[in-house]
Symmetry: C2
Subunit: 161 residues, 2 copies
């Protein structure tokens, strides 16, 4: 088994093709790690969550770490992202009677729409209740928090035979 | 999708049947999460590692978190273990000419042997170089650190349709 460091484009390719990752956050020098579904884009990780321990911890300490991997029969890849948690603030509802290109959305809404458009492509949602969202607009997902992880560093290692 | 808390026996069953988990550790209030292969037994997680960032961090701050999951087509299970990292100290080599039951091994060696016996059952090793170990005795794996995560708390959630 040989090991090599992955280049940034190789790491980004894995982040783009992967939807399930494990997110670690910290409180009082103790870690907590949970699985999340995410989308990568615009030098950030986008995801959503119901309220709970993970969100509480990330709001107190925004330093997080996302790990994704691809384990195959003859090798593996693993990418680690260090980043900063940011809430995506709620924005006014989109007026569906007006074409999107004609709407003057605030930047926060653009971020939210972008996150949604990426996450919407996922067939399997991790979080409970999310299956009910279907093709609904973000405005309907009242209990869900959308958030972004601003990427500070990416590294990856690959093993091959 | 319905969600329920898993009982401790349900969590333990997943830990016993799973070999790949994600381990998070902390330095300076920043998390680091990596995939590991592990074995569960005796109210502890056993694993091994080559020297590196993960081991350095865990020796400085033993609070770690291991997450394992089982994601299926119609639901998922996820178990989180909070625990304390402990090195398994090196012990005298086992004399293979004497039956194991007749050898007076120190406790640390028993732990090491136990970890090895569990990990040895794994066909696919995560760490580089580990494939070379085959059926060798622990004494041969000179560069590998064996360690234990003493379990402090276990929790789990299960989603089903």
């Amino acid at each position: 088994m040989n090991i090599k460091e992955m280049t940034r484009p190789e790491c980004v390719a894995l982040l783009k093709s992967t939807r399930l990752g494990r997110l670690a956050c910290v409180r009082d020098n103790r870690p907590y790690v949970v699985p999340i579904h995410f989308a990568f884009g615009d030098n950030a990780i986008f995801s959503f969550s119901l309220p709970g321990k993970k969100v509480e911890w990330m709001r107190e300490n925004p330093h997080v770490c996302l790990q994704v991997d691809d384990v195959g029969g003859d090798g593996w890849k693993s990418v680690v992202v260090d980043g900063l948690f940011e809430d995506l603030p709620r924005a006014p509802e989109v007026d569906n009677t007006i074409p999107a290109v004609d709407q003057q959305l605030p930047k926060s809404n653009h971020d939210r729409e972008f996150a949604w458009s990426l996450l919407q492509k996922h067939a399997n949602w991790w979080e409970p209740g999310a299956l009910n969202l279907g093709g609904a607009t973000p405005a309907i997902s009242g209990s869900h928090l959308f958030y972004r992880i601003k990427i500070e560093a990416i590294s990856g290692r690959q093993a091959f035979q």
